[in-house]
């Protein structure tokens, strides 16, 4: 809407317009823009909805389960005799039936969601923390450090490459062999597996950032290198790491299930965890395949949720796709 004020008025209007646009640009950060694009992506919405439900069930669900997850109610009531292959399926009272020890499967699924989430989150955090420190030091050293920096960088990266040379499952198995089978072991083992991925990612991203103009500008202004690394390079390099963390949550849950399958999971199967439940169900596949299918579907859907959201975040944060 331009009111005619003559040439001078037009000029002012144009200036105001330009200023407004610049304000607008300054206001939209990478994350805001990414969030806006996430909201328009149906895959992201589906992933987010799955995850919200999963987290809600995991956090709140255990308070509302109809039966205790370790309560062998089916055996007490004489309904379950797994030795004779009698394991009743879903009914009005027991929505998903019983497991081989006469426990209510629905209650175990709900409580298991919490354990599964715990395993996924803790192991990812372990991988993220260790990987980010290694990658961050290597990236800072490589990007800013001169000859010594290059040496530190290549030493750290050789170590990371070595970890990468071991297939994740084997790495987890060897760690589990060291520490003995337990839930903590599973979390550490699965976490260590993702260390090289996070380290490489953060390093690569930091090196790319170190070559950008704003780092050159900060350097020429005389800002200390350590400060540039911490306040400029690291925050700008975090996007791919966060995306990877989301994707890693999916693989962590699957990998934990594989460890349970190989007998390295939590030996105390009273605490329900989907991977352990899936592994425990194997001898009864012929009688009640549902015992394996429920936890498997839980794992698949949750992993799908994390993967969908992670992929959508990757797309949303991709600078190439930015306007």
């Amino acid at each position: 809407m331009t009111v005619n004020l003559g040439r001078k008025g037009e000029k002012i209007d144009r200036l105001a317009e330009l200023a407004a646009v610049r304000d607008d640009e300054r206001g939209v950060s990478l994350w805001q823009e990414a969030f806006r694009r996430l909201r328009r992506n149906p895959a992201a919405i589906v992933g987010a909805v799955i995850l919200v439900i999963f987290v809600l069930v995991a956090l709140v669900g255990p308070f509302f389960v109809p039966y205790g997850p370790t309560d062998s109610i089916g055996i007490r009531e004489g309904l379950v005799r797994s030795g004779q292959g009698i394991i009743p399926g879903p009914s009005g009272e027991h929505w998903l039936g019983f497991d081989h020890q006469g426990r209510d499967v629905f209650s175990r699924m709900v409580v298991g969601a919490r354990q599964t989430l715990l395993v996924g989150v803790v192991s990812t955090l372990i991988g993220l923390a260790v990987g980010a420190v290694i990658g961050g030091v290597a990236g800072a050293a490589a990007g800013l450090g001169g000859r010594w920096g290059r040496w530190i960088d290549s030493t750290l990266m050789r170590f990371v490459d070595m970890l990468l040379a071991l297939p994740s499952l084997l790495l987890a198995v060897s760690i589990a062999a060291l520490l003995g089978a337990s839930l903590t072991t599973v979390m550490i083992a699965v976490g260590v597996v993702s260390v090289p991925v996070f380290a490489r990612l953060l390093r690569g991203s930091m090196i790319a950032q170190s070559n950008s103009d704003y780092v050159l500008a900060a350097t020429s202004l005389g800002v200390r290198k350590s400060k540039i690394a911490l306040t400029h390079v690291v925050p700008n390099s975090l996007a791919p790491v966060i995306v990877q963390a989301t994707l890693t949550l999916a693989t962590a849950i699957i990998e934990a299930a594989a460890l349970s399958f190989l007998g390295l999971g939590n030996p105390d199967s009273r605490v329900p965890e989907w991977g352990v439940m899936l592994a425990d169900a194997q001898p009864y596949l012929g009688i009640r395949p549902g015992l394996a299918i429920y936890p498997a579907v839980g794992i698949i859907i949750t992993a799908l949720g994390f993967t969908l959201l992670g992929e959508a975040m990757r797309e949303a944060l991709d600078p190439k796709l930015r306007k």
Binding site: L166, S174, A296, I299
Partner: protein, 334 residues
Amino acid sequence: MFRFIVRRLLQLIPTLFGLSILLFIWLRRLPGGPETAILGERGTPEMRAEIRRNLGLDEPILVQYGRFVRRMLQLDLGTSTSTKRAVTTEFLERFPGTVELTVTGMIIAIGVGIPLGYLAARKRGRMLDHLSVGGSLIGICIPVFFLAYVLKAIFAENLGWFPASGRQDPTIGATRVTNFFVLDGLMTREWDAAADAVWHLVLPGLALASIPLAIIVRITRASVLEVLNEDFVRTAEAKGLTENTVRRRHVLRNAMLPVVTSIGLLTGGLLSGAVLTETVFAFSGIGAFVADSISQRDYPVLMGFILIIAVVYVLVNLIVDLSYSLIDPRVRVR
């Protein structure tokens, strides 16, 4: 080219050196120490002491490490505590099965994955694209051993199309030459034996291929999409090359670079996937053996497997790097 190969081979030395140190530390840190690893849980204190002396565990650590490396170089991986036979012998017997299985998995993953990924990219936004992207997402999210059970339950136990377990029907009485059952059948012209071995490979091969297949489809699709937007493709089309030439010489060749790299990275995953699928299908390869050794705490077997996988992985990635430089001449210069 020759210098490139030599340089890459030299770069292997620090990796393998570091790996040997890691394995050495790992072996020493196992619960109960190496003597338990060799004796199992049953050893008496005297036996333990003797083993410690025999292993030279009272000597300086560097001497011990030197001996460890020498044994590894001589392929002496110790004795399996569960079968009481040399780990190397056990592996040599079972290796052919695992090689057949992983090669089958790779053939399925590459043979289906690359064309499917390419088609999905060409038909972007259409039904085929959505199906392959959705399918590959699910493929990544299904635990391999669960998929193996499902395949087995449906196609072997219910429909009876494929055998449920083993590597070959023992009643065929096939002649053994190399222990590669398919190869043996072809070499001795026992066609039915070869066909039967292939038949036994289908289901475990499919289960094993699921994750690499999903990853290859996604990477191929993404990579083809990126190349299709390149200026040189437009130029090639504009100068009137046939669609076939553009596709083969310009699009596929350039799009294959990331795919080939990922194939190298996937081999390690395939070998550990074999541990899971072989167990489900009672397929007598290294994988099933290792799965047993995990529950039996058979550490020499475990260590041997880690070593083999690491070496195979490093070698495969070397081959990948080399083929990379064949596809893309620019790599050689660097």
